[in-house]
């Protein structure tokens, strides 16, 4: 049992993160980071709508943005206060993120496995 628990932890630590976007969105890796920090608002002619995934947020912030939740939260408070850009909505799991990204033009999010009907923009 203990072995399985340790194994499970190990698997979770190595879990891959798939950044997905509405079919109208194309972004490079650096642009993905910028979009989740409010530094990039427009891609082509599309207004970007980033959405966070509560279940994966800690790993995403660490792997993609190289920061923890405290710094991320602080960064968005400053960004929103200065530039009037709302922080990303937070969805609770992969299914909610996929549904939001599919149905919202310009939406980008991240999930733990490949999803159909969306653009996979990057894998971390």
């Amino acid at each position: 049992m203990l072995f399985l628990a340790v194994l499970g932890t190990g698997i979770q630590a190595r879990a891959e993160i798939y950044v997905i976007g509405n079919p109208d969105v194309t972004l490079s890796s650096s642009e993905i980071a910028d979009a989740f920090l409010g530094e990039k608002q427009i891609a082509g002619s599309t207004k970007l709508v980033p959405v966070d995934n509560k279940a994966l947020q800690k790993d995403f912030l660490s792997k993609v943005l190289n920061m923890d939740n405290v710094k991320y939260n602080s960064s968005w408070t400053k960004k929103s206060f200065r530039d009037g850009i709302p922080a990303p909505k937070v969805k609770s799991n992969d299914a909610d993120v996929i549904e939001f990204v599919k149905s919202t033009p310009g939406a980008i999010g991240y999930v733990s496995s490949p999803a159909s009907g969306v653009n996979t923009l990057a894998k971390y």
Partner: protein, 366 residues
Amino acid sequence: MTCKRIALSTMLILGALPVVSAQAEEGLPLHGFADVGMAFSSDSAPESFRTRGATVGNFDLYLTPQFSDRTKGLFEILFEPDDGRYILDIERIQVGYTFSDLLTAWLGRFHTPYGYWNTAFHHGAQIQTSILRPRFLDFEDAGGILPAHSVGFWGTGQFRVSSDRVVYDVYITNGARILGDELDPNIQLDDNKNTALGGQVAYSFGNGPLDGFRLGFHGYTQQIDTINAGTGSVDANSITRVYGFSTVYENHGIEALGEYYRFSDRNLAAADPEKALGSWAGFVQLGYDFLPELTAYGRLEKAELDQEDAYFANQASGRSYTRESAGLRFRVGMNTALKFEFLHTNLKATDQAGFNEGRLQYAVNF
């Protein structure tokens, strides 16, 4: 006051109404800052009879509605203590259109984008490390000598240079005036042709040894009239030209901030209206996270303001000074901070000796 009531009602309505589809599902979040605390001061100036006790700070509310993909708003109101009572101030009413990442055009009343502090922190007590702002960067009615608020046009944007970033601001606004010995941004049309023109450009490093370092240059010019509060006549006018730089470093648990402002002003009513009068003000602040939740910081600030310059002579706060301060900031939770700060201030050109202050602040954002 009527205008303020109307604006407040508008904000409350905006807060209650859906704006675009995503917001329609979840409502429009209301954000804000608040702080409470305690303070003592050894200031012996006659008017400073309130020298110790508990304080209730600012209560700041703001909304960021998205009216369409490209059109957005930023509305902020402030309840602030003033002579023993609270007054309501409309901080920001700005509506913007984002053409691209290179340009968002704002129209309305906004925080004037010079340096770093004024737009990054402003009334956001919880997000700034220290309790007090540098004195010369304070608000117009609280000791500041710069127009912290402006009404007009503001264009801002950014672009990448490899892993680095260039950010710029340009603004054309109603020129400020001095009314009742403090700056006033002329919110309802300009009172003369003293249109203000300013801007800044900043370069932020995103990689390598300078990752987290930002260097910016700013400047603005405008004509400032001093209005006689009794008669409404113009008692003095001066052309003020300001330029300087700001630096920010945030990385490895270090926060280093610095800003410098150089004034080259002319009194238009003087015998020699072409004579430039030089003044300057600046600060440096250094903070270090000894623990993830604990930051120790210190700041030095100084202003050398020429009293021949009508711009400073006619402002109650336009006197030279030095100030040293140090403090501790505890991050109590994700959105709360407890701070302790000690300050020593010397006001020049007065008979008053330097005075000390001790402050405690518990600040939150939501």
